[in-house]
């Protein structure tokens, strides 16, 4: 794969804006989609990609974002189901080779993993971080 990738980030909230800004700063070609125009204010000044204003639940918006050209799609809107649908669209309709899906509700994780999505459960990851940090602090206090 080329050194610089075409990356599409769906959702420009707290997480999406960090990812989009970071990839852009690294030199990748980034397209970020959000249906709320003010969300793009989260992007850092170093962001030099494209911002597409529209609802990712509309096929035309994904076409305007030229999703079929992406090497990687990252679905990180605040809605789990939207992330799931857009990811399945990216894989099956737009043939995007790498698709990552953020899910907040752990109950949906297992089933969609079985259906072939690559899920990042931010809720589970935060829980693990809390447990580990607590464990470390307890150990430090003991010693």
């Amino acid at each position: 794969m080329a050194k610089f990738l075409e990356i599409t980030v769906i959702g420009c909230g707290r997480l999406g804006s960090i990812l989009a800004s970071h990839f852009s700063q690294q030199g990748h070609n980034v397209v970020v989609i959000d249906r709320d125009k003010s969300a793009f204010e989260h992007l850092t000044e170093e962001f030099s990609g494209f911002a597409i204003y529209g609802d990712a639940a509309e096929m035309q918006v994904l076409q305007e974002a030229k999703l079929e050209q992406a090497d990687c799609a990252i679905a990180v809107t605040g809605k789990d189901n939207l992330n799931i649908m857009v990811s399945q669209l990216a894989k099956t309709v737009f043939d995007v080779p790498i698709v990552l899906t953020r899910i907040l509700e752990p109950a949906r994780e297992e089933i969609y993993q079985k259906l072939g999505l690559t899920i990042i459960s931010t809720t589970k990851i935060s829980a693990t971080a809390f447990f580990q940090t607590l464990q470390q602090q307890l150990e430090e206090n003991v010693s």
């Binding site: 096929m59 035309q60 799931i84 649908m85 669209l89 099956t92 109950a107 089933i111």
Partner: protein
């Protein structure tokens, strides 16, 4: 049949009522507490307040025993996920989803939804077929549009008036299924004559539809 209906508004309400009248066992999942309460008073169905894409809610609706899940919300992503979870997690054999964006229809079926229907597409087809063609009373597509059924009324300008069916140059993929004349319906034979004011029920494949209409009305759409 056990039916789970996920959605809100008039569509879910009247469909729920209709299924109950047809003696199906209906469970409605509605996300809005006040509307759900209204449904539970007006429809003889089990009504659950909640998110129909959330596995525990589907479990509460006894999805594992359901024969059919219908997802009718205004959000395509919710309709897709509700049907997929019902199907893959609870083994529901048939799922029907409303697609709000008609461009999603094929994708939904590709993702395993038994039937994805687009109200926009159905209405657009209806209007398209009617445009400039006021004698066409009705159109609906059967089996994903492989066959269309249309009703037309013959006016005095029709070149088909006075002819028998066997003398009309009808395309092969098209037939007149029924003639309604003075409120009596009959299935025509080759020697049946067409008259002014006849209402014809046409059955045709879409590719032969235009030619079919031309033969009967003399007009080109």
């Amino acid at each position: 049949m056990r039916v789970i209906l996920i959605g809100d508004g008039k569509l879910a309400y009247f469909l729920g009522k209709k299924f109950v009248a047809q003696r199906h066992r209906v469970t409605i999942i509605n996300a809005h507490p006040s509307e759900a309460e209204e449904f539970s008073h007006q429809i003889k169905a089990t009504v659950i307040v909640g998110d129909g894409t959330h596995p525990p809610i589907l479990k509460e609706a006894e999805a594992e025993k359901a024969d059919l899940v219908l997802a009718l919300t205004a959000y395509d992503e919710d309709n897709l996920v509700a049907c997929q979870i019902a199907q893959h997690y609870y083994g529901v054999p048939r799922t029907i989803a409303l697609v709000n964006d008609p461009a999603h229809q094929q994708f939904f079926e590709q993702m395993g939804i038994t039937v994805a229907f687009s109200a926009t597409q159905i209405l657009a087809n209806l209007i398209e077929k009617r445009a400039d063609f006021e004698d066409i009373a009705n159109f609906f597509a059967v089996d994903g549009g492989q066959i269309g059924i249309t009703e037309i009324i013959l006016d005095e300008d029709s070149p088909a008036v006075g002819k028998t069916l066997q003398n009309l140059n009808l395309p092969t993929g098209a037939l007149i299924g029924c003639i309604i004349r003075q409120d009596k319906a009959f299935v025509p034979r080759g020697w049946s004559h067409l008259q002014v004011g006849d209402r014809l029920i046409l059955i045709s494949q879409p590719e032969h539809y235009q030619q079919f209409l031309e033969v009967l009305t003399g007009k080109v759409e």
